[in-house]
């Protein structure tokens, strides 16, 4: 196993002594044998998720898998069913559009408050106390919004404002506002300071400094990230139907539960096409945005057109969903939301209940760890195939023959397709399928999480592998190393820190997904929450949500700490990124 060497070691030989003046604290013993620690942790997670590899390969599992696949040939295509599917599909899109718009509306002011005051008063001596307090409060609010998974927000809003797409829009709006707000604040903080400093030196007020010095540079990145998040919102809204918040999820769940695999196949294909097309479109737009950074390069008519299209989309979505805007902002709705929220206090802290939660918490953690581990292994295998052609291209030795090259490219496209399929279907829908393969319980949840995350991580890994500097691998090949030796000793060690950083970041996302797996019966805290909400035991619901928030916060902290031990921050932007426990803003667009 190649030694885990962080980037600083490989740079030692070329960096002058003076630059190494920063002393690095000795590694805690835990990180000295990372391979061993990881193996032990994953083994524990396997036990905790009631892992059962034989169940995966049992006769029952193979029979179910065969039934699934048979459903795809042919998928249900009778007119009645297809017409029944159209409305939920459009609902899914409409909920995502309105949800992400709401998220941006909420995120912008909050992110402004959450940005370090240094950003718009770069020449001030020290930020004022009210500004500091506002910053802390805004960060807290954003973290709370982020920590609660969208499905739980949806469950709460369904109780508070009733079944229907409105609950879905609110759930996505608030959940994603937290994510967007944090990234926006980070982007504001990590932009080059020269413009802002110049304006401040010329005497502009903080507001003007921000609007003219910081905002224009940030806009393309913000727009790009919001567009990326729209992709995620689309996938999320497909799932929200499971709890009654509108969209395709409900229909899909029913078809799955009744073993109507032809219908399932039709809906999966429809969802895949929808997400893939939106994904492609948004990728094209984001690439254009990336190339036209700066205030002057983006023409005004283009931006007006973009804004007009977005508003039209919102209007159409609102009308299509018959969005009860008047009802939502009425006094009655406010009263019912307030009534629901206050019915949850005080949380149920009885010893019996809390003790009963222990196993569920451990299950949730196990699902997240095992799922991430499965994803990492699966992801790196597929990523290798995706990145293979570009890696081999660099080899000056023995250019590949025509047929071999074509096979490599075919394998690369197959791998890419597999990753896309895994990524497109939300974890919960995979969980529903795995429940029928390996039975109810956390193992189904871990497998589903592993498969979905493999799709996400695989794509990221492939990008990292493709961008690895080819010097070392060329040198190894030139001295006669085989392809696999080159990959193992030249490519992988260089890529490893970034791969691990992405994996750890994904673990943070996965703990949130693990918490809700139980809603469909795949283990963890979700089941208890579903029961407490169904039985109107609101005090217990509050306790469960608090436990989820605490769990998410703990994993975020641990993951951030681990990542900080692997990466040495190179710039101020990365420094603030490290503080905020997220990958640097530049790679945010790569997600």
């Amino acid at each position: 196993m190649p030694p885990l060497r962080p980037a600083r070691f490989t740079a030692r030989s070329s960096v002058p002594q003076a630059a190494l003046a920063t002393t690095w604290p000795p590694r805690p013993w835990l990180l000295r044998w990372p391979g061993l620690v990881v193996a032990v942790v994953v083994a524990l997670a396997y036990v905790g998720s009631e892992g059962n590899v034989s169940a995966l390969f049992s006769l029952e599992a193979r029979k179910t898998l065969a039934d699934f696949l048979r459903g795809f040939w042919p998928p249900a295509h009778d007119a009645a069913f297809l017409s029944q599917m159209v409305r939920p599909l459009f609902e899914t899109v409409a909920i995502a559009v309105l949800g992400i718009t709401l998220a941006m509306l909420l995120a912008l002011p909050l992110s402004l408050l959450a940005t370090s005051p240094v950003t718009w008063s770069p020449l001030a001596d020290r930020p004022s106390t009210p500004a500091r307090l506002a910053q802390a409060a805004a960060r807290l609010v954003l973290n709370l919004m982020r920590s609660i998974p969208e499905l739980i927000w949806a469950l709460l809003f369904v109780r508070a404002v009733g079944i229907g797409p409105a609950a879905g829009v609110l759930a996505i709006g608030i959940g994603y506002a937290g994510v967007l707000g944090k990234v926006f604040a980070e982007v504001f903080e990590s932009l080059p300071r020269q413009t802002a400093e110049g304006l401040a030196a010329a005497g502009a007020s903080p507001l003007k400094v921000f609007v003219f010095g910081v905002l224009p540079g940030a806009m393309p990145i913000l727009g790009s990230y919001a567009l990326y998040r729209f992709d995620c919102a689309l996938r999320a809204s497909a799932v929200l139907g499971l709890v009654g918040a509108g969209g395709l999820g409900l229909q899909l769940e029913l078809s799955l539960k009744m073993f109507d695999y032809h219908e399932v196949a039709a809906q999966v294909i429809a969802l895949f096409l929808l997400v893939a097309s939106v994904d492609q479109a948004s990728r094209l737009i984001r690439r254009r945005l990336q190339h036209s950074r700066g205030l002057l390069r983006q023409s005004l008519p283009n931006r007006l057109i973009a804004a007009a299209i977005w508003i039209a989309a919102c209007g159409a979505s609102g009308a299509f969903l018959r969005f009860p805007l008047g009802e939502l902002f009425s006094r009655e709705a406010a009263r019912s939301i307030w009534g629901f929220a206050s019915a949850m206090f005080p949380p149920d802290l009885s010893r019996g209940f809390l003790a009963g939660l222990g196993p569920a918490v451990l299950e949730t953690i196990s699902i997240s760890i095992l799922g991430t581990a499965i994803a990492a292994v699966l992801g790196i295998c597929l990523a290798y195939f995706v990145a293979y052609p570009s890696q081999r291209e660099g080899a000056a030795v023995a250019p590949s023959a025509g047929l071999e090259r074509r096979l490599m490219i075919a394998a690369s496209w197959l791998a890419r397709g597999a990753l896309n399929l895994a990524r497109t279907l939300p974890e919960l829908l995979w969980a529903l399928m795995f429940i029928f393969v390996v039975g109810l319980g956390p193992f189904a949840g871990a497998l589903a999480l592993g498969l979905h995350t493999a799709g996400v991580l695989g794509r990221l890994y492939a990008e990292v592998l493709e961008e690895v500097p080819e010097g070392p691998s060329l040198a190894l090949r030139a001295s006669g190393a085989t392809g696999s030796a080159t990959a193992w000793f030249a490519t992988l060690p260089q890529a490893l820190p970034q791969l691990i950083a992405y994996t750890l970041y994904r673990w943070e996302v996965n703990i949130r997904a693990s918490a809700v797996m139980g809603v469909v019966g795949a283990g963890g805290l979700g089941k208890a929450l579903l029961i407490s909400l169904s039985l109107f035991q609101h005090h217990r619901s509050l306790t469960l949500i608090a436990v989820v928030i605490a769990l998410v916060a703990a994993v975020d902290l641990l993951s951030g700490w681990l990542r900080s031990r692997i990466h040495k921050p190179a710039s101020r932007g990365e420094e603030s990124a490290r503080r905020w426990n997220a990958p640097p803003a530049a790679s945010a667009t790569a997600w």
Binding site: I163, M258, A307, I311, G318, P324, L533
Partner: protein
């Protein structure tokens, strides 16, 4: 772009459909698939519209608890509840009025089913198996089976290997039929219907045990609905006559021969069972 987004709320001010005359928003607990609920209701809805003169619309709801919330939030007027959901609705609103029920519902049973090749012969044999209830809020699919299991010395949370909530009776039947769970419990009326319509293979599923009788489904109205409308609805149901061919279709879909009046007192024992099974806290 941010400034332009503030126009969105103005653009989205969709005028709400004004509820002019009497309207009756009807719903039902989703204990079967939505298409099935819609199919059962359509002729009944047409009949109610003619009998009461009110505009009747069926509001499908995907979650038991949401029907309770809907009645409490005045978004629903007439709801087909199970015994437990009625108790929940009554506790939430204080004034929900149960009007009528099918004559079968006064003496309702749940049936425990196992796959045909299962070795279980009595309830006690189910210990250690994977078990499927219906929805968490279901009377015949969860509450009363749980209550009777506890009465027979079996604690579902401790004695079963895994407990799942299928969400609907037909789903429970499917899971047991295909062997995905080792046992399940569901509504006797739905079970008979599934056998009759050949949607469930009689040779693959066996009834293990039938529970004692209890009060279950009823049609409940909001307490603050116009009393004249309430009276019209009640008499419309009670006038359904099996010998009348037009009514026969309606009654067949509802799987009964006639409706009888009911009252809140009938559900005191359900409330008691819920409290002792731990599903209702005071």
């Amino acid at each position: 772009m941010t400034k332009r987004l503030f126009l969105v709320p103005i653009l989205l001010s969709v005028p709400l459909a004004a509820a002019a005359e009497d309207t009756l928003r009807v719903s039902a607990i989703p204990d079967e698939s939505p298409t099935e609920l819609q199919r059962k209701f359509t002729p009944l809805g047409a009949y109610l519209e003619k009998a009461t003169g009110a505009k009747v619309s069926f509001v499908p709801v995907s979650d038991y608890a949401a029907t309770v919330e809907g009645l409490a939030a005045k978004k629903l007027d007439l709801v087909w509840y199970g015994g437990f959901t009625f108790v929940q609705a009554r506790r939430r609103t204080g004034t929900a009025i149960p009007l009528v029920q099918r004559e079968e519902d006064a003496q309702f049973h749940s049936k425990f089913i196992v796959p045909a090749n299962s070795k279980a012969k009595t309830l006690a044999d189910l210990k250690g198996s994977t078990f499927a209830f219906g929805s968490v809020s279901s009377t015949s699919g969860h509450l009363m089976p749980r209550y009777f299991l506890l009465q027979n010395g079996i604690d579902p949370d401790k004695d079963f290997a895994k407990v799942a909530y299928s969400g609907a009776h037909d789903v429970t039947a499917k899971w047991v039929e295909s062997g995905k769970v080792q046992a399940g419990v569901l509504n006797e009326s739905v079970l008979e219907k599934l056998f009759e319509e050949k949607k469930l293979d009689k040779s693959k599923v066996r009834v293990l045990w039938t529970t004692p009788a209890y009060f279950d489904y009823n049609w409940t109205v909001r307490g603050d609905l116009d009393p004249k409308l309430v009276a019209k609805v009640k008499s419309a149901f009670l006038e359904l006559d099996y010998s009348n061919p037009a009514h026969k279709t309606i009654l067949d879909l509802q799987r009964t021969k006639r409706f009888i009046p009911t009252s809140p007192a009938n559900y005191a024992s359900i409330e008691q069972a819920a409290k002792s099974a731990g599903l209702l806290k005071d």
